[in-house]
Symmetry: D2
Subunit: 273 residues, 4 copies
């Protein structure tokens, strides 16, 4: 299966009073379906995966799987830092119907590129599900060179794609060149149009949790695209004034859920906006 082209949503983790909110997940998925999102990516950086316990992490994936609209792919994040728990979550994702899983490399420690390649090869092999490499060195500390991704591809047929959130379009272009036939996604909403010009297969766009602007940028013609991207980029600058990612959570609650005074929508120890 080739991953779909277009906009993927790195979903917020809908909470109510600190607990996973099944209704919120259902409304979020319905919103994504209606606005033309091609895949849901729960438990990414925006989904605050690293504030979830191991069991909550698996439960979150189950909740998305059981409510997934037909025609939408499920691409959950499975990263736990260590290989064993990550494989555990990835097997669970496979069992509930995920099309592929997304993983940042081990973080906290600095790793060599060969160690990172080993990690992805072992993960795909042990969990037996296609893997999407997730490059976000500003959070995960370890960058993933295009050559490293190519090394993974040469060792396993299970490399399904790359999500690049590094902000460095030279890296994105490096992936496009080094991985023929493998979809590469831009992970920064404000670089979506530039990434399209460089051959990206789509975007993983946080703002698609509450607006359809990324989808409109992605499908716009050459005449309209710059102005639409300009609007999306201004939205991103506004969001960047808040501690990441609280404003995404607030806007999801306010716009999609229609809650006037949402409470308990941030996981501990994060405080609401």
């Amino acid at each position: 299966m080739r991953l779909p082209s277009g906009i993927i949503t790195p979903t917020v983790t809908p909470l109510r009073d600190g607990d996973l909110d099944g209704e919120g997940i259902a409304e979020l998925l319905e919103f994504l379906r209606r606005t033309g999102v091609v895949a849901a990516f729960p438990a990414g950086s925006l989904g605050l995966f690293h504030l979830l316990s191991l069991s909550e992490h698996k439960r979150l994936i189950s909740e998305f799987a059981s409510r997934l609209p037909s025609g939408m792919a499920l691409l959950p994040g499975v990263h736990r830092g260590n290989l064993e728990d990550t494989v555990d979550v990835a097997r669970h994702a496979r069992d509930v119907g995920a099309a592929a899983v997304v993983a940042v490399p081990p973080f906290y420690y600095e790793l060599g590129q060969e160690e990172i390649a080993d990690y992805y090869v072992e993960l795909a092999s042990a969990a037996d599900i296609p893997v999407i490499i997730y490059n976000i060195p500003q959070m995960a500390r370890n960058r993933i060179d295009p050559e490293t991704a190519a090394s993974v591809l040469s060792r396993t047929p299970m490399l399904a794609g790359v999500k690049d959130s590094s902000r460095d379009l030279a890296a994105l272009q490096g992936y496009v060149s080094a991985l023929p036939g493998i979809p590469v996604y831009e992970g920064q909403d404000d670089l979506l149009l530039a990434a399209r010009a460089l051959g990206a297969h789509g975007g993983v766009c946080g703002t698609s949790n509450f607006v359809d602007l990324p989808q409109r940028v992605w499908s716009a013609g050459a005449d309209d695209a710059p102005a639409l991207q300009g609007r999306l980029s201004r939205l991103m600058r506004l969001l960047s004034r808040y501690e990441f990612p609280s404003a995404y959570y607030y806007l999801f609650q306010a716009i999609v859920m229609g809650r006037r005074n949402p409470t308990g929508y941030m996981p501990r120890p994060m405080r609401p906006l």
Copy 2:
């Protein structure tokens, strides 16, 4: 109970062919006892806690607890990033006899100082065991201000100490001033003597996994201390030429375990030296 003064060892995680090595743990603890270490701190940064699965993490603490020499305190790291799993590990540590637990704040995400204070208060309260704050912003991203530690202290009697590995002695001095009666430990071997001059209660020294030099610096008189610290600092510069912390693991295997060609002593995906 007041935490002991002197040198604490942030222990390597002894592995053999990738599995926890009970014999290695026993020999390590015997080496620490013989060289005058006052407490063992498994599952710290040097112990590669974030490459351990949740169940391995707990098993590691049990293994240290069951072999702990009398008179030595057990101060295990319990950090898992999220509060729920961290509390789970901390309760386990309490049940097997730990004197206190050590925790870095949630990492990966940037947090506010109030959120960090909440985290420590909730952890101590939920796990019902004294907590040692661990400040290491270069790894955990989030620094902990002395004022934040003071805020924790004002809200719970369970703050047992601070380990400062930030390299900023002004922060260490800030803790000493802001937390009267609470032990503050220096986490960098090459700053041990300077920290002693500023009122530190001891040092958490990685090199004490295979030499007794930190203990000698700590107990040296004013005449001998600078030269001994100079030797320790040169050792640290040598170690810094290798990807952290592989050289510590190799030297432990070679010096303490007496293994000529140790294999499998680094957890996946880390490669040996």
Copy 3:
């Protein structure tokens, strides 16, 4: 006058045995003319302006001015860190026929955005020559927000353009949106094609000192452009293995000057490749 569209060369400073090399400057300019470069930008970051004395800096601009091919614009860097010397160099540039001058903001110190705006307004006013803002925070420490550039534009008609070397295409797009009618140039060769898609007016490309690849990327059709950009990006990765910018100097000496064993081509204290 509106600045030209296309490729501008941030020129190496041709030296022979440590002294400005008039013959080298002449051959460089002839190479640029032949390969379709639209403007020469001496005394930029690549030109090692900050290793030149105040008098050498002015002399370098004179040497380029006196040898400038017809039809090519002269856009010298005039930045000296302080306003007074920068105005002095800018007046000199105006007197010898520069079309506009380029300036990074004061560096070494961290400045506020209002202070940066003041600086550019005062520079343009005191030197009476159009000014090009040069955004390169990784070298000059101080970034220049698109809003700051817009503030400069609202206060003086002398803002001639922006060179963005920040690697952040969202910043470049911000300039394009905030400064209608003002040319914005991409300063990183490996982002040239992406910047073209976002409305850049041209590129300031270091590799154009010795190859014509940037010009070919800039004028390529949609079919050929990605492959050509891929070649240019690979060249950039090779160059990045050397301490900046010694490889540019070596390749200029070897390819354009045809020198087998060039000596003294780096200013003190830089050592040759």
Copy 4:
């Protein structure tokens, strides 16, 4: 001549309506004399050397030299980034009676350690005056390894001292070990006491522009020193809330000059507090 032990003041540059203020310089020097400062260091980072033109820089040194109290050493900063202008300023400093000159390495560009050593050797030789190495990588980008300083010392008898503002006391201790007999000064007020414990010869303390607290820390006995250092460190934390170094300038104007509403005390483009 061996450089004096104790507190050296990295002086603010007294301005009135944007011009060098001879009266301010006189009052500053009288304040330093009265409070027991052993040397004046104009044109350092705090003196905003990089916002001064080449001619102002030389004039500033002359103004300090002509008003220097007897018994106080003059140790001016001479750094201009490039070697030629730096030598020019250093010769001027020598001619007006400086005991030694201080220099950061070339900044803006990244240099190798050998290039940095060459720079200091050439500067001392060309200007024929003792040189003090100034390590401040957070501003000047290039750090100076203790081994590099030792290499300079092995090549010239003109190395007079080191000022370390890196905040890394391991570096300071490295200088003390690697440079027997050469004075090493701590450049951060909040690390003064720790540096004294490691064998520093004195401190270069910005707050000595308006208080005598650093001198009291330096000469305090073991009993009083920690509390005094605590007060000095709290002062530093307060100052750090302002853009560097505007609060130093304001407090000098208010406390030493007794001006209620000082104007024009920051050089362009810096705005007052």
